[in-house]
């Protein structure tokens, strides 16, 4: 079965972590209005939960890079032991 090239989406792990870091810094600086900081806090808690969940639940996937006769590259499912 041929797979598609997965694109690094907006919700990539790295971006979530960066956003979380940004929120933590903003809250620590304390220079946003209180109402905004509460919104940020909620977003931050949610992000940290999502990230932790990804880290505990994700499963490593293994695909094989396959070149067909036209030289086109696709991902194939790889037998995993």
């Amino acid at each position: 079965m041929a797979g598609k090239k997965p694109a690094a989406g907006k919700d990539s792990f790295e971006e979530s972590l960066h956003r979380l870091e940004e929120i933590v810094n903003q809250l620590e600086r304390g220079d946003v209005p209180l109402e905004d900081s509460l919104r940020l806090y909620e977003e931050g808690i949610q992000l940290s939960r999502l990230c932790a969940e990804k880290l505990t639940r994700a499963e490593t996937t293994l695909k094989r890079l396959h070149k067909d006769l036209d030289g086109k590259l696709t991902l194939m499912d790889e037998e995993q032991e």
């Binding site: 690094a8 809250l27 940290s48 293994l62 890079l65």
Partner: protein, 396 residues
């Protein structure tokens, strides 16, 4: 200029033959074997090549028994021989009298030469090294489809950082065409795109086994990769040219996997810390607001709203406790109350009343608000917004 008398093909070939055979009567050549064929006649035919050129070779039947090894494709050999021209086909070839595999000494020399050459070109410079992405999501793996290397690396990723998805491109890792294959794999992964990192790996082996990773074509492919490359070739003690060019050299394939990804346990700890930091930042913030409200109430020097303050404090306590739940909502409630209080405090401030045209009447320094407390000739102070006047009652 008069035309030269035309030469026959045979005459020309004869001249070429004499010229070549006189110029190259005996020489040693190093190269890689390919198209090795032991003909039924007993003669051994082969092609000797390097990255750019090739030459046909033959070892006649009488010489073949002197071989101390069985020549196979991909082997590096040194041959001793002379150039001969085969007139019938108009080709030249090397007529080999002896052949040996490239020894450790030869390999070491080739290694040092290539190392020096690439170093002079600046391919090993520290400034060329690209930083590895801290959280790679797609990792390319170039290694053998057989053997334990892929399995061992997979195990590391599963344990340390299961977020990563792996893209595997199987290659030969030794022998004929292996270097070419590895270089192509690197180019294909670059062409495919979307990869954050490439690991080029091979398990341990002899210097000869690891030789593909000392080939210029592999070094060039690594240097030309737009995606950062981690090398993990052989054991700790093995150092290859590929290691020098790679953005990061790992001592082994499993170490390459480990160095490529963060450890999830450390990350989970980091996430816990960030939750703690955010919570204490918010708690500080609320404490600060509580102080502000106290300050505000004090400044109005009024007594009545003290119970309001108590109620506020209670709300703030509640707010702190239930922060993780419906925090925003609670806060909005409290904030609205705080705003209401401020307005009410303003309304209670006598000075704001005076601004609207009212006045305060005092008798002997005390506010008096009733007619029956007053008598004719009583002295009164009347406070307006802009100042106080003294007056005397003339009639009641």
């Amino acid at each position: 200029m008069a035309d030269q008398a035309p030469l026959s093909v045979s005459a020309l070939t004869q001249r070429i033959k004499m010229s070549l055979e006189r110029t190259f009567p005996s020489l040693a050549i190093v190269g890689e074997l390919s198209n090795v064929k032991l003909h039924s006649s007993g003669h051994l035919y082969f092609t000797l090549k390097d990255e750019a050129s090739q030459i046909s070779g033959v070892m006649w039947r009488s010489r073949v028994p002197s071989l101390k090894f069985r020549p196979t494709d991909g082997q590096k050999v040194v041959v001793q021989g002379r150039i001969t021209v085969y007139e019938v086909r108009g080709t030249y070839q090397i007529d080999v009298s002896s052949m040996r595999t490239l020894g450790a000494g030869d390999l070491q020399q080739a290694f040092e030469e290539l190392k020096r050459k690439l170093m002079e070109e600046g391919l090993f410079d520290a400034e060329r090294k690209r930083p590895l992405p801290p959280y790679p999501e797609q990792i390319g793996i170039i290694t053998s489809p057989t053997g334990a290397v892929l399995h061992d690396m997979l195990h590391v990723f599963r344990r340390r950082y299961p977020v990563a998805s792996l893209v595997f491109r199987p290659t030969r890792v030794q022998g004929a065409g292996a270097a070419q294959d590895i270089a192509e794999a690197i180019a294909e992964m670059n062409r495919f795109g979307g990869l954050d990192l490439i690991i080029v790996a091979r398990g341990g082996g002899s210097l000869e086994d690891l030789w593909s990773f000392n080939e210029e074509i592999v070094a060039r492919a690594i240097a030309g990769s737009k995606i950062p490359i981690v090398s993990g070739v052989g054991h700790e003690v093995d150092v290859t040219i590929a290691d020098f060019v790679a953005d990061l050299r790992a001592p082994t394939p499993t170490a390459a996997a480990e160095l490529s990804v963060p450890d999830r346990r450390a990350l989970i700890e980091l996430l816990e810390n960030s939750r703690y930091t955010m919570a204490s930042a918010i708690e500080d913030r609320i404490a600060r607001h509580r102080r502000d409200i106290r300050q505000m109430l004090k400044s109005h020097a009024l007594h009545r709203p003290v119970d309001l303050l108590a109620r506020h404090s209670q709300h703030l306590d509640e707010l702190t406790r239930s922060m993780s739940t419906s925090l925003s909502h609670l806060f909005e409630l409290t904030a609205a109350r705080a705003r209401g209080t401020t307005e009410r405090l303003h309304a209670l401030d006598p000075r704001s009343v005076l601004k609207r045209g009212y006045a305060i009447v005092r008798k002997q320094g005390r506010i008096t608000g009733k007619r029956k407390e007053l008598a004719v000739r009583d002295a009164l102070e009347i406070e307006f917004a802009d100042g106080t006047v003294r007056s005397t009652i003339t009639d009641i």
